[in-house]
């Protein structure tokens, strides 16, 4: 997991994300973070290579000890074949200094 230092950082994608289900056509290209008003803000760029199944995503916001503070509900990914989707997540409180981004297919 990455520790957020300074105003902006680019954590390792493998460290902060998971993929499950039929998401082979969805590629997480970039994850960027910043802190605004003491709140962690995350932007995830996903390339949709013609995903056939409906995809969904969520953020799991954690404290410094990686204890989950808030696990979001799954949200649907817009279907945009051949395009990059940019998703933004906002932490619920300043205590949420770490996160995990989950990508999955909808059953």
């Amino acid at each position: 997991m990455s520790v957020i230092i300074g105003c902006s950082s680019t954590p390792s994608i493998e460290d902060v994300s998971t993929k499950s289900g039929s998401t082979d056509d969805l590629e997480i290209r970039e994850i960027r973070t910043t802190v605004k008003n003491n709140i962690l803000v995350v932007q995830v760029s996903i390339f949709d290579d013609g995903q056939k199944d409906l995809g969904s995503y969520r953020f799991d916001w954690m404290n410094e000890q990686e204890v989950s503070l808030h696990l979001e509900a799954w949200k649907p990914l817009p279907s945009t074949p051949g395009e990059i989707i940019k998703l933004q997540g906002i932490a619920p409180s300043p205590e949420a200094t770490k996160f995990r981004f989950d990508l999955s297919s909808v059953d």
């Binding site: 008003n37 808030h70 509900a73 649907p76 906002i90 932490a91 300043p94």
Partner: protein, 193 residues
């Protein structure tokens, strides 16, 4: 005699169908994406509430306040032709923001009746000890109110139905009338028939 194989086959089909039936109740994940119909659903409710709550939580008026801000919930107008329980949206937003500890909610207009009923009961019934009674005139007024609207645009052909929702939410300073925060969430749902 000629009908015996047919009768046996029918009986077997009947028995196998009965054995393989999947009736009964099962529990589902309330957080999962639901795509049963194109109407406003639980996924849309969760998406709007979480997005708006956390956006408001990171605004400077809330995040940078030295003490928790006091907010009251006003109306979210449903301008669509569909039944949408907007109070469920504001209830989820209130829960999410309350959990952050940076916002306190004052009773809304809809909840005022139960608040005044309780105060009257305590002060006028003569049943409670004076030291334990909550006094009239002690309520805290909300500095801000949260209000908004939801609209939709529906278009359909023989094969496709497209529904676009637009949620708007604003935080208004009750004293100055200034909009201190505003955000919107768009949702588009497409049904192929």
């Amino acid at each position: 005699m000629k009908n015996i194989p047919l009768i046996i086959t029918s009986l077997l089909i009947f028995i196998l169908t009965g054995c393989s039936s999947s009736k009964g109740v099962s529990y589902g994940d309330p957080q999962k994406v639901e795509t049963l119909t194109i109407e406003f659903g639980s996924t849309d409710l969760n998406t709007v509430a979480e997005t708006m709550a956390f956006s408001l939580g990171q605004s400077s008026v809330i995040a940078n306040a030295p003490t928790p801000q006091i907010v009251t919930l006003a109306e979210i107008k449903n301008k669509t032709r569909e039944y949408i329980d907007t109070r469920a949206i504001t209830a989820k937003i209130r829960t999410a923001l309350t959990k952050t500890g940076r916002v306190k909610f004052a009773v809304s207009i809809d909840e005022m009746s139960s608040q005044t009923d309780e105060l009257e009961r305590q002060n006028q019934s003569g049943l409670y000890s004076e030291s334990s009674v909550n006094q009239l005139g002690g309520m805290e007024a909300a500095k801000f109110r949260l209000e908004g609207s939801v609209t939709s645009i529906v278009k359909q052909t023989k094969d496709v139905k497209d529904v676009y929702y637009l949620f708007n939410l604003t935080l208004v300073d009750n004293q100055t009338g200034l909009v201190e925060w505003a955000d919107e969430k768009e949702i588009r749902k497409v049904e192929n028939r």
